[in-house]
Symmetry: C2
Subunit: 412 residues, 2 copies
């Protein structure tokens, strides 16, 4: 007998019919002899509806009350799923994040899970019940205040529960049937991956592959929980995210991201401590910085460029403005019309020349590269926004990812 | 400085505009120097919508999950009201029933409040905040399960909080502007009452006056909390429900109720213990019995009639059926086409002849009386359903309630 965690996203529980469909699927897993913990998101667009209601009464709602409001969403879907399971003859118990012992820090709207206390979940499983847990929410034990986990929070709930309860598998059910070598809406030849390593998935997620957020992959990697990303509308296998993959591809896939903006500070004096001062200031302003590139200038000064989520661009701008004079820089500019394209694959560590092929493929497609950043298993380039789709197609065609593979342990 | 509890029903918080209207009203009360606890119902018809969703996934949803589902309703309205108050510059804190220390028994869907633990509400008030509490919900401290209080639950929450926190007034805001001498939809000349005693209000509520449920009146009476029933859409005073009224009317009003059914057991042997056996059986089946009348028959047997909520009629029928043979009765019948009309007034205790005038007025209107039941301050008659409106009008015209008054302490 296994313990499975199954997470169903908003599309999978968008209406009563789909909830009944999920219930039949869960009931089947339970009847096959498994213990099951189910994590659910709010139904369909209901979180958006609640946010819209909030903005109709207050353009800047207090974060504490926003969390109180939004946590109603999963409360509704989890109770309905429990009812639907009872109709299938499968005993079930729904629990809020707080009841399921999801403890978090105090950061309303973007809380991080700090601990999981498993008593009520464990009791429910021991009573032979399917335990349904509200995703995306927790409680700060110090203040007893309800919190939400922010983007990707339901996946994080699922993977964290899977690790705390030592589940055999964490299944993430979504409306696509796995992780692809590139976004299929951009690359018609994109192929579904059968498996991908945690490290590769982290780079794909950081590069913009939206199916699985980096935060849940990190938890899965830390605690060694295999994650199976699959469709709730189909029976076939999706993509397994795990420690080691059976075959190590040189290139796993191409990800892209159009949600960032680029900030460039020109003519920064080239002396120690300048970058530290800049990025400390940005951290204090709670700006998430992604890529950082420093270009050596000709006149003894340098240009520093970094990317941030577009939603943080204003905050980055406010934080940077006073620093420009203080540092004696020439000026700064924010550019939202950029996009990032990333090539990811654990095999490129030992495969020289991949970077050169990336730059050549983009050059052949007449695409200018504005920033470059690399890790041992990723190459990312910032390009003009309007060039991103041709860039993704060019890289996918150059590497045709799933074909270029080598056996683990082979000589190559 | 006073402590006020204000309860706003679903119609008062049906959409963002109305929530902002309520927020302005609450903010005004707060700015006038009062401490305020606000109790809210779910928005408009949202509880009905949730019930409909539940029935789409399961025709017989488990009560525990139904409570989990329905408590999302007030969670949404209370968070939105807190946001709207912040927009008015008034600091506010929303609390679920559980967070506000509303402890109940374990009866899902119809829980009773057993205790109120006031810490978080008190802390919020001491921090200078308006404290908003979700009506209709609580928590069973033994199982830690969330419960709902059933019909009239939000009013009960408000009056119980008012008594626990020793509030000066409990204001019940609704979509009508007070308690009337009769249902204004039936009697065009019905008048709003300025005040009514707890005892009279209990009889009016039991007689079918739906504005305020008996359970909250009982709590108000037990703890001496004055209740002010008024409209959230108008500024004028509504109806005060309190211990003693300034003037004691002989007749306070006419109430009617079409939600009951009548059960009659014919030819019951007239021996001790028969009624006890019958009503014990009904109590075990959790059937709420309202009026009970035993008519002496001619042949040494009696007929026993009683009324129950129509929703309990099936259960009453199932409980009664086996008893008929056991008791040696002739048979039984359930009649749903009945209605109850009640005349209520504390002054009728000392005013002979009121009952006779009731029967004469109904006879003159050619309305047949099927059952009669009286208390010191009420006379109730069961009539055919189609006669109820003429009956209400006949009694209202006969007594023209607000006119027949006498001064408290006068000789009369």
């Amino acid at each position: 007998m296994s313990l499975l965690v199954q997470k169903y996203g908003g599309t999978s529980v968008a209406d009563p019919q789909r909830i009944r469909h999920v219930a039949r699927r869960v009931a089947r897993t339970r009847r096959a002899g498994n213990d099951v913990i189910v994590v659910v998101s709010a139904m369909g667009k209901s979180t958006d509806d609640l946010i819209s209601l909030a903005h109709q009464v207050n353009h800047h709602p207090p974060a504490r009350e926003m969390d109180m409001l939004l946590t109603a969403g999963e409360r509704i879907s989890m109770a309905l799923l429990a009812m639907a399971l009872h109709r299938e003859g499968t005993s079930a118990l729904s629990l809020t994040g707080s009841q399921a012992g999801i403890l978090t820090d105090a950061a309303h709207g973007e809380a991080k899970i700090t601990e999981i206390r498993g008593t009520r979940v464990r009791d429910g499983l021991q009573d032979g019940k399917v335990v349904i847990v509200a995703g995306f929410q927790g409680v700060d034990p110090a203040s007893k205040e309800v919190t939400t986990l922010g983007r990707g929070g339901s996946d994080a709930t699922a993977v964290a529960l899977a690790s705390a309860h030592r589940a055999d598998i964490c299944e993430i059910y979504t409306d696509v049937n796995g992780i692809y070598t590139a976004d299929p809406r951009v690359v018609s030849g994109a192929r579904k991956l059968d498996e991908v390593s945690f490290d590769e998935m982290l780079e794909l997620a950081a590069g913009g592959a939206g199916v699985l957020m980096a935060r849940s992959v990190e938890v899965g990697r830390r605690f060694g929980v295999p994650i199976h990303v699959r469709s709730s509308f189909a029976e076939d296998e999706g993509t397994w995210v795990k420690e080691r993959t059976m075959e190590e591809a040189i290139i796993r896939g191409v990800a892209h991201d159009t949600s960032e903006a680029k900030v460039t500070i020109r003519g920064v004096p080239d002396r120690p401590g300048v970058a530290a001062a800049l990025f400390e200031t940005l951290a204090d302003a709670r700006v998430n910085v992604d890529m950082i590139v420093q270009n050596v200038g000709e006149d003894g000064s340098t240009d520093i460029s970094f990317t941030v989520p577009q939603s943080h661009a204003d905050a980055a701008s406010r934080a940077t403005d006073p620093l420009v004079e203080k540092l004696g820089a020439h000026g700064f500019a924010v550019d939202s019309e950029i996009a990032k394209v990333s090539l990811v694959g654990a095999g490129m560590k030992s495969s020289p020349g991949v970077a050169a092929r990336v730059f050549r493929a983009l050059a052949n497609a007449r695409i200018n590269i504005e920033m470059i950043s690399t890790s041992p298993i990723r190459i990312s380039c910032v390009v003009r926004r309007e060039c991103v789709e041709p860039a993704v197609r060019a890289l996918h065609a150059e590497f045709d990812p799933p074909v270029i593979t080598e056996e683990v342990g082979a000589d190559a």
